[in-house]
Amino acid sequence: MLQARPGLVVRGLDVTLGGRPVLRGVSLDVAPGEVVALAGLSGSGKTTLLRAIAGLLPAERGDVIATARPALVFQQHALASRLTARDNVLVGALGRIGFWRAALRLWPRAEVAAAEACLEQVGLVGLGGRRGDRLSGGQRQRVAIARALLQRSAVLLADEPVASLDPETAEGVLALLRDLARRERLVVLVSLHQPDLAARFADRLLRLEDGCLRTA
């Protein structure tokens, strides 16, 4: 990942999985404060693109240039069910915390305060002590967003963040992402299945078809 001009720049990204080309020459730009929605049929490569940008999948060719190591809001939350909401959020700070402090749960006070602030930001005040498996689907999604926020990255990627949510909660989550992009000047790239939501909450809509990107 190169440190460069603000925002997110992807150039000529090729990703092959199991011998099958999934992304072919994908290029895109997202500016700070902008929300870009990524649409496409199942299997079109949306998750692969986000994971490749996040550095979780190796690209065969191409460059990802971002102002910071991207934070990814995973599809299906990826929360630890036996950890509290607060500890799940603190997972986002592991890159800054030493091994023993983290292993012994001796979280730095400043990080705990920051985790509480992130929970407050996503509207989960007072739920920090609740275990992951005792949260509703919408609450889990918000904890996953708070975890990504605590990474303090200027680039936020979200993979189908509202796929399993009811319409009202889904709108709340997308409004939150848009507000964060505006307020914190974050780059937000979000994959969505619902074109109506994309039209309402995103500044731009990009469509992935057979691994190639088209402007919708």
Binding site: L56, F74, R105, Q151
Partner: protein, 248 residues
């Protein structure tokens, strides 16, 4: 055809086993009256000097419990290296799994026999034997639980910048606690059962008392000790099952 081949294979294996073991029903028949005489002569059970039996039983529980605890400390780093999600350096993965298989492959009884020669008679040698064998069992059970765990929370931690060992300690260990704690209780319960015979090689516990009674052909005493062993293993079984139910 395939079924016939399986049946032929099974019959061949059993025939080979019979050839090696040489079972002799005539010898069993001749020995049955002697066995029946010992059992009949074993009543009433002789609980005189119960303090000695109780002390040896406590020794069995103590060496099995301490052995399991030491095994857990030994198993933790080995299991972390033997599970793909937590192994920080993959070239170590297969060698450590082989080491765990080797530890599991040698019975605690055999390890105890070696430790008796090395550190002398008594429960300390038994505890060391139990610990070494159980480290292999626990390492294997834990690493398998970690490999079967949902990889998504680990991946989230890794993407936030955590190393493998750090992500494992913060996410994987708490997530799989019910499975690993349950496996540990199972191994503890198994160790209590297995430790009742360690005394036969001088490695402490109630087995030592049993061996003394058998050597003296004191069958009233032998049956009394067997009754205590059965009570001990049943109690361990019940306690372990109750704790496992609470965990899962």
């Amino acid at each position: 055809m395939r079924r016939a081949a399986w049946i032929a294979c099974f019959v061949a294996v059993q025939a080979a086993c019979i050839w090696v073991v040489q079972p002799d029903l005539a010898r069993l028949w001749a020995g049955l009256p002697r066995l029946a005489g010992w059992i009949a002569g074993g009543f009433p059970l002789d609980f005189s000097g119960f303090g000695d039996i109780a002390q040896r039983a406590a020794e069995t529980v103590a060496l099995a419990t301490l052995g399991t605890t030491v095994a857990a400390f030994l198993a933790l780093p080995l299991a972390l290296l033997a599970a793909r999600p937590s192994c920080p350096w993959m070239p170590l993965y297969h060698p450590v799994r082989t080491l765990l298989d080797a530890l599991r492959g040698v019975d605690g009884f055999v390890f105890a026999l070696i430790f008796v020669a090395a550190v002398g008679l008594g429960p300390f040698a038994g505890m060391l034997g139990v610990a070494l064998h159980s480290a292999g069992s626990l390492g294997k059970l834990w690493s398998e639980a970690w490999e079967a765990a949902d990889p998504a929370p680990m991946e989230a931690a890794r993407s936030a910048g955590a190393g493998r060992a750090q992500a494992a300690s913060v996410v994987l260990l708490p997530e799989t606690l019910p499975q690993t704690a349950s496996a540990t209780l199972y191994v503890w319960e198994f160790n209590i059962r297995a430790s009742t015979v360690l005394g036969l090689v001088g490695a402490g516990g109630i087995g030592q008392e049993l061996k003394n009674a058998v050597d003296l052909l004191d069958f009233n005493r032998v049956l009394a000790i067997l009754a205590v062993i059965v009570a001990l293993t049943l109690a361990a079984d019940r306690i372990s099952a109750a704790l496992r139910r609470r965990l899962l």
